[in-house]
């Protein structure tokens, strides 16, 4: 393998990561507000099918993406309504929606299986794409991949730099305190759940109109990405930059699986294809290992110097969720 094909491969990693990025960033927004939208897997499939169908029907790729976002927002609205207004369990509702939307996508999308549809084209950015290495990596991509870069910065800036973003963190952390400071907690939670859902809804069409173009029902190979997106959200510590790192790591592992196949003929291809999923979950465990009691005990027994170092490392790795994640809010 020569260096230019590695470079192209890595550009492919960024490109392939775009849909997962939308899902993870969307979920990060939602969970920051204290709501878990567990329907992600169904959202991705339904928006992939819906986006593809609309794009085929209208002939407009833009309409396809809008339809995806709309589907994501609607599914999120169901989550918001049942958990905020009806005070139902977010986990139960989200889980059922995840299954329902998946089967709905297979059922409703039957007519579109193997139909020819539009596909996003690569738009190299003038000037920027000429930069050696970086140009190929970042600036010879399609619109949605560019958007997946931009949205990381945008959402990070909103959460950590703006006044409404501070309030967003507040309602997820301690809604009672946010309420005392003038927030309409439940209205804001509705808003962010729907926005988060819409962003996540872009993931589907990014698959079906670009990364894995077309619709093949259960053979589309999209089942499972939603669950991994949920775990990357945790890995990301509800911070867009860290989440992006997780997304790229996952995408990189997937690419590695493909590249290594010819060199490891004794390992069945299925193993390499599936490996990124458990690997990602192992990373997740590693990140939150400092919570375990035996780790604290082990640390206490270590000599001063390595212990300090380990503590520091674990603290950096550690990410604690918004304290009121999944907890309904009622003002007295």
């Amino acid at each position: 393998m020569n260096s230019s094909s590695v470079l192209l491969g890595l550009a492919g990693v960024l490109y392939g990561a775009a849909p997962i990025m939308f899902a993870v960033i969307g979920e990060t927004i939602t969970e920051r507000a204290g709501i878990i939208n567990l329907s992600m897997n169904g959202t991705i499939l339904l928006s992939a099918m819906g986006g593809f169908a609309v794009a085929v029907g209208t002939g407009s790729i833009v309409m396809g993406f809008l339809a995806g976002a709309l589907i994501g927002a609607l599914v999120a609205l169901v989550v918001a309504f049942s958990s905020i207004t009806l005070k139902q369990s977010q986990v139960a509702v989200g889980f059922v929606l995840a299954l329902l939307c998946r089967d709905l996508s297979y059922f409703l999308g039957h007519a579109y299986i193997s139909k020819a549809g539009p596909r996003l084209i690569t738009i190299p950015l003038p000037a920027l794409s000429g930069i050696p290495i970086l140009g190929t990596l970042f600036f010879k991509q399609d619109v949605m991949t560019y958007l997946s870069f931009v949205i990381i910065f945008l959402v990070w800036f909103w959460i950590f730099r703006t006044r409404p973003g501070l309030m967003l963190r507040g309602i997820g952390e301690r809604p009672a305190a946010a309420f005392v400071r003038g927030a309409n907690v439940n209205r804001l939670r509705y808003l962010y759940t729907i926005i988060g859902g819409a962003v996540a809804g872009l993931a589907g069409p990014t698959f079906s109109l670009s990364v894995k173009a077309g619709w093949a029902g259960p053979l589309s190979g999209l089942d499972g990405y939603g669950w991994i997106a949920l775990s990357i959200t945790i890995f990301g510590g509800w911070n867009p930059f860290r989440a992006a790192l997780g997304v790229y790591l996952f995408s990189f592992l997937q690419w590695l699986g493909l590249v290594l196949q010819p060199f490891l003929p004794s390992i069945p291809t299925q193993v390499l294809q599936v490996a990124p999923f458990p690997l990602m979950i192992l990373t997740l465990l590693l990140v939150n290992i400092s919570d375990a009691e035996w780790v604290t005990r082990m640390l206490a027994a270590m000599p001063e110097r390595p212990r300090r170092w380990m503590m520091k490392l674990l603290r950096t790795l550690r990410a604690s969720p918004p304290a009121s994640l999944g907890v309904p809010f009622e003002s007295e």
């Binding site: 409404p164 501070l166 963190r169 952390e173 400071r181 003038g182 927030a183 503590m311 304290a323 007295e332």
Partner: protein, 497 residues
């Protein structure tokens, strides 16, 4: 700002939390609101601060009727409240907490806010690092942050709900100084408390609430007896000191060492006699909690020996300790001590360790009824524990203990309880001492330590004093030791007493 409350009424279900309370508070005063737990103080204050809506009644600020629908309305009108557990955001930084909820454009002007923050903090003599995370602050410091924030938002009526619970003496002095400064600036300060000493020492006037009604008002100088009478509707006296230390040693600690990653408690030697009460004093997190849990087998010891009733139980689990007559009552009553969601009956059945597969409900109910009566728990067997007040939860915990115990370990046995419950609980504990149980307890209340202990151990960042005789110890001396003053150069010598 002059505050007037007119005929405030609020019912929760069948309970009259506020049954028509009228009260006038002039600007520039510190008004005490006194009452035992459940007297309706918090409800009244939450109504004034917009947290809950009254069923009936009017609030007048400077003579104008106002309608307060939310805490945000209240703060716009200049009414701010500091909650018992400060309503802030622990994982955020101090400065972010300060900004959160303030009006302004999309991007907060960090520089300007920081200047305001530092100016205000200087004014009150608070030293808070704006970049520190709130979860690294003490309760006292979090209160300071909230005070600054409310003033910054323009509060001229400030409500403090039980602010002296869970803060150190030094922080209390600082808080009181700040409250006096606020009153001098012409702000109206409402100080809600069930602690007579605090109210008497700070407030220029006081209103006493009992069972949802205003039962009386008083001005300085106060007669403590009268205030107590108003609070409880009867006179209560604290029992005298009744040492019942026997000669028999029930617990023997030698060279005990306990550590966690922050703190090392070294080489504690201690003999605990039957019927003896030993108070463990110190600032929160000085090692006394760790020590207490180690003696109960809940934390691993690093070195030394623990002998309970002559048996070496070093390194054994809490279950083993329990079998040998050791019991532990945690400070987090509802989280660690009781099982929320289960009723009193179910608790008694669980504690009984009866044999057999099926539950004998009738027997359980009878047992619960008996114990509820014996321990004066205000509740019925079918009540779930979380529906009880703090004092009644603590009574229930005591009622759940086995009859004969060698050692009882208590964390903050009376934190957040009203005086009546405090006296009741300690009477019950003393009864156990007379039967030969030794008690080790951690408390941040110096008066409690001096009042009820026979001996006191003071902790300061892991260092431990030899047992000090409580009858000759003064609050001042104890306060100094807790603050790290007056310690001998080396305390590794072991016990002196």
């Amino acid at each position: 700002m002059n505050v007037e409350l007119k005929d405030i009424q609020k019912t929760f279900g069948m309970v009259h939390a506020n049954g028509g309370i009228s009260l006038k508070i002039p600007a520039g005063t510190i008004q005490g609101i006194l009452g035992e737990n459940g007297a309706g103080k918090s409800t009244l204050m939450k109504i004034l601060s917009g947290f809950i809506r009254p069923d009936q009644g009017e609030i007048l600020l400077d003579g104008h009727t106002v309608s307060i629908h939310s805490p945000a309305d209240a703060i716009r009108l200049g009414v701010g409240m500091l909650h018992q557990d400060p309503l802030d955001f622990p994982p955020l930084r101090v400065i972010e907490n300060f900004i959160l909820g303030s009006a302004g454009g999309l991007l907060p002007d960090q520089g300007a806010v920081l200047r305001d923050f530092k100016k205000l903090a200087g004014q009150f003599g608070f030293s808070l690092d704006p970049e520190a995370y709130v979860d690294s602050l003490t309760v006292g410091e979090r209160q300071q942050l909230e005070i600054l924030r409310l003033i910054w938002l323009g509060a001229s009526v400030m409500i403090f709900d039980e602010p002296t619970t869970g803060i150190s003496t030094a922080q209390k002095m600082k808080l009181f100084a700040a409250l006096c400064l606020l009153a001098e600036q012409g702000k109206t300060v409402l100080f809600v408390s069930h602690k007579l000493d605090d109210v008497e020492g700070l407030c220029s006037r006081v209103a006493v609430l009992r069972q949802g009604y205003l039962v009386g008002e008083a001005k300085q100088p106060y007669s403590t007896k009268k205030l107590v009478e108003m609070m409880f509707g009867k006179t209560i006296s604290v029992g005298g000191r009744k040492p019942c230390r026997a000669d028999k040693v029930t617990v023997n600690l030698s060279k005990l060492r306990v550590e966690d990653y922050r703190l090392k408690v070294r080489d504690v030697n201690l003999d605990v006699h039957c019927g003896e009460v030993i108070g463990l004093a110190g600032m929160e997190g000085s090692g006394q909690g760790l020590f207490l849990r180690a003696v109960g087998g809940m934390t691993h010891t690093v070195g030394g020996k623990i002998l309970i009733d002559g048996r070496d139980l070093t390194g054994r689990s809490y279950q083993t300790f329990k079998k040998h007559g050791v019991a532990f009552l945690p400070a987090a009553r509802l989280e660690e001590g009781l099982v929320p969601g289960l009723t009193l009956t179910e608790h008694f059945i669980l504690a009984e360790e009866a044999k057999g597969f099926f539950i004998n409900w009738d027997k359980g109910r009878l047992l619960a009824q008996e114990r509820i009566k014996e321990f004066d728990v205000r509740g019925i067997p079918a009540n779930t524990v979380e529906s009880l007040s703090g004092g009644n939860q603590q009574r229930a915990l005591l009622a759940l203990l086995r009859d004969s115990l060698n050692l009882l370990l208590l964390e903050h046995p009376t934190r957040g309880l009203d005086i009546e419950s405090v006296i009741y609980i300690w009477n019950k504990l003393k009864e156990r001492c007379q039967k030969g149980t030794a008690i080790l307890f951690v408390s941040s209340d110096l008066e409690e330590i001096l009042q009820y202990s026979d001996q006191v151990l003071v902790f300061f960042s892991g260092k431990v004093t030899p047992p000090l005789d409580a009858s000759t110890l003064t609050t001042e001396k104890l306060g100094e030791l807790i603050g790290g003053k007056g310690w001998p150069e080396s305390t590794d010598e072991g016990k002196l007493a």
